[in-house]
Symmetry: D3
Subunit: 313 residues, 6 copies
């Protein structure tokens, strides 16, 4: 038998410390029959973005940032090294037919749910357009879904002007009946970043809206805590949808639609932690990270940390 002393074809050659478990060590490719704790899927679609975006590159970058995190929480004195994350890979998208892409995203999330390999799921966009097919798939599988959306924007634009862009997912979901208005909570909505018409759409459909002004006044954690509690009573599962542009541009400089006056990294992480710990929270997507314009993958690192707060309870 060949025996190489310092070569391991097919394996990373990075330095490793025998006592450190990296989150990437918990990750393995899904194979038939496997079961695990959390399913991971990449939804690398960003051609529906209104502004220039290569957020299709984010699933790969965020995955590689997981290598920077360990499985240990000192705050809770707890090591999560036994958590098993099954990676279903990235959906193959169509280069020119965007409707076909949405359809593939829906089918793929559905197929992943149907193998029932895991209890909870992380979905990595892509732009926010991916939440439309994704949440639809969850609704079809689990029944009534509640959604907490971290976002500077309502994302309920009309579809006539540009079709199903990344500005429309929640419009589509609410109008198609896959998501009831009062099952949707929006946190971090920013002034001078939305249209009156869409704010009114939100109010008219009973969407619960919390602005940065609300966050400033009461803190974001109490808001999220209260709404998760409320949703948990009227929905089967809760789905977190994290548009990274909810964070201030200083903390998430790699989002396509960056701007000032948003959440700090600590506010974002604490509020996701708060939400994730409720047992009805079964899924989270992370969207709108464009690695091509980021600084040192800072935004992908933050996204990976958001994911970590969802993974380990």
């Amino acid at each position: 038998m060949d025996k190489f002393s310092f070569l391991h074809p097919g394996m990373k050659s990075h330095f490793s410390d025998r006592f450190v478990t990296r989150i990437s060590d918990c990750l393995g490719w899904y194979k038939e029959g496997m079961s695990g704790d959390v399913g991971l899927i990449g939804l690398p679609a960003s051609k529906s973005s209104i502004t220039p975006s290569h957020s299709s590159g984010a699933p790969q970058t965020i995955r590689s940032c997981l290598n920077s995190y360990t499985t240990y929480s000192g705050e809770r004195s707890k090591d999560y090294k036994d958590l098993r994350i099954l990676d279903f890979g990235d959906v193959r998208i169509h280069p020119t037919n965007l409707d076909e892409t949405i359809s593939r995203l829906y089918i793929s999330v559905k197929e992943m749910l149907e193998v029932r390999a895991c209890e909870r799921y992380v979905l990595l966009g892509g732009d926010h357009g991916v939440s439309y097919p994704a949440i639809r798939a969850f609704q079809d599988h689990y029944g009534t879904v509640g959604v907490i959306q971290w976002d500077a924007h309502h994302d309920v634009r009309n579809l006539e002007d540009g079709g199903r862009t990344n500005g429309t997912p929640f419009r589509s979901l609410v109008e198609s009946g896959h998501l009831k208005g009062d099952h949707l909570v929006q946190v971090g909505i920013r002034d001078f970043s939305n249209a009156m018409k869409y704010h009114e759409f939100a109010k008219d459909h009973g969407i619960k809206v919390y602005t940065m002004g609300d966050v400033e006044q009461t803190g974001i954690v109490p808001i999220v805590k209260k709404e998760v509690e409320r949703l948990s009573k009227i929905t089967n599962i809760i789905y977190l949808s994290v548009d990274m542009d909810a964070a201030d541009q200083a903390f998430a400089p790699g989002c396509p639609a960056i701007g000032p006056g948003g959440l700090t990294s600590r506010e974002l992480l604490a509020s996701v932690s708060e939400a994730a710990k409720h047992e009805k929270v079964k899924a989270m997507d992370i969207v709108e990270v464009d690695p091509a314009v980021d600084f040192r993958d800072m935004t992908s690192r933050l996204a990976a940390h958001v994911m970590v707060r969802f993974l380990f309870l």
Copy 2:
């Protein structure tokens, strides 16, 4: 008649959503006889800067960032889409004669005020040197002017060592009598960023100085609120002068004189909002943004948002 289906020579071809009014939609070039709500002028001069600066490029970049903002405030449930901003363009500066440049800035602001087309004005620098001719023009037109200056620095350097640089505008104004010391308020002054002599000059002339320590202790909004109130009683109009380096380098990485320990974007925006809403506040300049060294126009975006908080009351 020619009819093009998808071409509109002379107009932007960007995606537009029928329900969204962008701030850039409120902007039009001033033409004789027009009147509007806010006058906008560019003061693209930065050759007087002590440290390297291309802040002369900021008027163009900040204007283009206005395209990222809408006219709607969700906090106030109010759409400002009818506000009319008249753009007077940029002052043509002289490439080698800096005194001539200062003179042109003064004359141009004066001429803009004299057509009395608007009630309120935004002036986009350029370096802080532009505030000297600008405030002088306002004083000549309106009489006694009060100034709130957001800045890490006093800007009251002596003129012997380098002439009228961007470190001297308030020295010049106070010494020439165009601005009384106690009509000037400085907020955000940082430790180890100024000289004792100039702090003493400020105290000796009755300039009201608030350091970052003061901001940390009492919050910036109460400081600004109190001082606007005070100034409103002793001056005809109040002029806000926002040196973007008052913000921490994490939030305004594109200022020539960046440094740590400054304001967050939320502190800056909230305090400008607070000031702007007083009816005596008639003008604001925004200075010291150098687009050439910025990251993704982050500092220009913040500057544009500062402008937004002044525009919409």
Copy 3:
């Protein structure tokens, strides 16, 4: 009448030298009834790109680079300051429906040709996918078209795998009969950058292919000269299609598909000059410049210079 001394609302405030005519001074927006020498149109479409691309931003950047060039050729002791360029603006593209976008490009180029305002045309992409509708429009208007294509790639991929991407324009044109194989000349084709199948497609359809090896041996100018001569005898007009990735990555670092071993800037400019001077050459497109990944707009500057060589004969 208002008279501003140094303000000209709506006009650039840059330094100007009374004896210098910039190419941008020759440019004006097309208005009904106008006629000029060269028509300019922007085709800002890049969502059909296989690899990530924001070449949709190029029309704007290349236009602004025209400001760096004057109208004077010292080599020929000739000033072209009277050339009149009519700018038809940019085609408004659809954010999610790419077939609709192709259709709009075709219609817009067609409509531009139909007003017969100019004799010659420059079309600014966008990715290479724009050449399919553009050349189709020229063929419909002028009859038989010959094409000289500067490119590292054949661009004759199959359409089954991804639809009408930027890798397919010449496949589509040849198969649809809008362009005869031997009316197409490809210069600068690079080794290990194409598939055998597509080289065979080229040969089978009589496309004339010149590789970098050919360029190295005989020089690019003689190749282009000979082929323009040949095409001029068998076609009504000749259309130049310049994929900027024909240039070596050192000279055009901002193309999506950069690579080494390509043309120098001097080879590219000289060969375009050579081609443009033939009277049958009526149009040129310039494609595959992505300003978002460029260094100091270097690739847009080169593209603008390529355009200059076409403009001034």
Copy 4:
């Protein structure tokens, strides 16, 4: 005698203002027999870093950032212009023998202490590996040393897996007996950034650990104040070891191991100020700044400001 009017060979030619004392003006090269207030030494070693790092470049960059700071504190109305900083230069490191480098660092710090020219010292890394020889030298010279470490990480990795890396300094110090466990305080430790084993090592050896959760709850200044007080009673001197990655990546984007959820610049500066003012605090190192990956020297500027807070009491 030669008299140049505007040339001063060997001196900087920057603009200077007669009333401004820059911190760099307080700095001079140490020469035999000199005495001063603070000794400065560069420890430009980063080849022991686990992840890629050129933090060896930091001593030079941080020194040059001192030029941006003045000696005046407005908060305290005090000018420190008479403080004398003696610069001992940078230790010459060995390019390939890392043990030799550690030995040179130890010897050099020791030799600096032995000339007894100053009362207090600043040491500029390099990576955190430099703290092992540095603190050892202080312990040999002063006897019992207490350490406050700002860091996201424990830095108590095992030495078997990679030798004496930048992840091991405090392990080495504690195990070798140069530092007692309860003489070490770690502030800013972050979740999912450390291994359980090492947290246990810390607890087992009595190291005092404060996480970001602790900072969020009680504020960082009270923590530091309490611990300096405690250490001052049981040690001869206190040494501050500031790993800049304790700061959030938004505030210190140039650290090799950046990440979200850390200290703000204001928290970092205030807590260092608090610590430094105790008379037993005699030394500070600043480590893990990599100028090669920073944005506009932002992290070096923050490091320089941290240094300023130690210098001026």
Copy 5:
């Protein structure tokens, strides 16, 4: 059995064209018993570099750039899609013991050769220090080795001043007798980039030196052709050692020791092609690419193309 429609866990989800074979498609991880055409090994060591270098990252980046190249040469009308490249992975290096690292590199190359799976080999550095253990291993395995070295530098520095750095590999090889002086050819040596002493060392030991002046006069291809011919008669195998800094900084901006006046990309590629086609040429290393300081992986792309010219004959 699970059947996913658009998911393939463990496989890339990139767009693929059925007729395109990418070089990455020819690559597979070596497994025991396999045989192939070319063996590939990564030597990710750069801590021995004199100037700052993260060329340890190059094996990963160059491999990923292979994805940009196809297997087809139009110049030769030949498709190399059946070539089989066995990837032995990267040698695991030691973080702090550089002698141990050299030893691991030697052992690993040796072990790779001993499984006799391939006829020819590509070795990806790392800095030029890796050539010392690598060539030693080849000499031990094959007997007398001839070397053609593309480089701006002689790399025959003394070992006393810094140990076995990246400036010493050929000194070590010649002095240890593993490489006879006249079995070594250096091409591209640049003026004012080397010391007289080392030029003399080269001459004294019979090393064949060709400067950029020689390249300018006679062309690089004839030089390489002649020397391969000569070496082929006196050695068992020929090993190409390509230090990418032989190329001009415009073509290889990502080398640690960039400079002007070097080879163009076309000169480099043509000369490697010329050398590689001789049957005695069995191995090539590519060194001194630092992806951390490169522009758009330009230098890694060039390196990958150099590799391609060696792979396909």
Copy 6:
């Protein structure tokens, strides 16, 4: 006596090889009474630039790039390690008075020449505006001066439109009679980069103009050789004025006015070498390098190499 083992306060701590002499080792600050081979002076003025420029930073950056070059020429088998370069430092410029700055530059160059410490001189700009006072000082000191100017531009703009900018130095010199038209040779002049009026000015005054077309046809070395020969017969000394934008943007990406179609690095270096070796060539300035926009100091490295070719004959 203090003895530090590895510390040398005031000296660089870089790795040094005992056999390597770096050019920086030949440099020392001028002190009264010294004499040497070449005098070096920095002219850090760029506020007169028409387009944005921080070329005032170039003297410092180019000096530090000298550290990358050795004193040995392999082409000539000659070591120049005994050459002595006296550095007169940088002229202190005025921040706001540009006429004063020009006056200081003139006086400083004059004063340097008057101490007669050296035979030959290198002057580092700054923008091209510095050549006006510099050449004037040489003319005053040496009598008739001939100038070879490498440049894409004529630099003979009118002075009415913007005063004494970097576009006017040769206009000023010719009109003031300090430089006769036929004593000025311009090489590398580019098409569409100049105005007809200024080309005519050149011709009318007998300036010898060589375009890039001339360079392409006959090679640049013969042109320079012939003109140096000619000038040497009709002038006392010859002064080389190297505007780095004569090089193509691929080779000199850090010039303010970059563009394609220029000289390669090898053409530039070879032609400067050719000129410098004539005994009448006594001075060279290098201008228009802006380190603030460069890539990895590539342009400063090229500038330093240009300087090297002048230094060593």
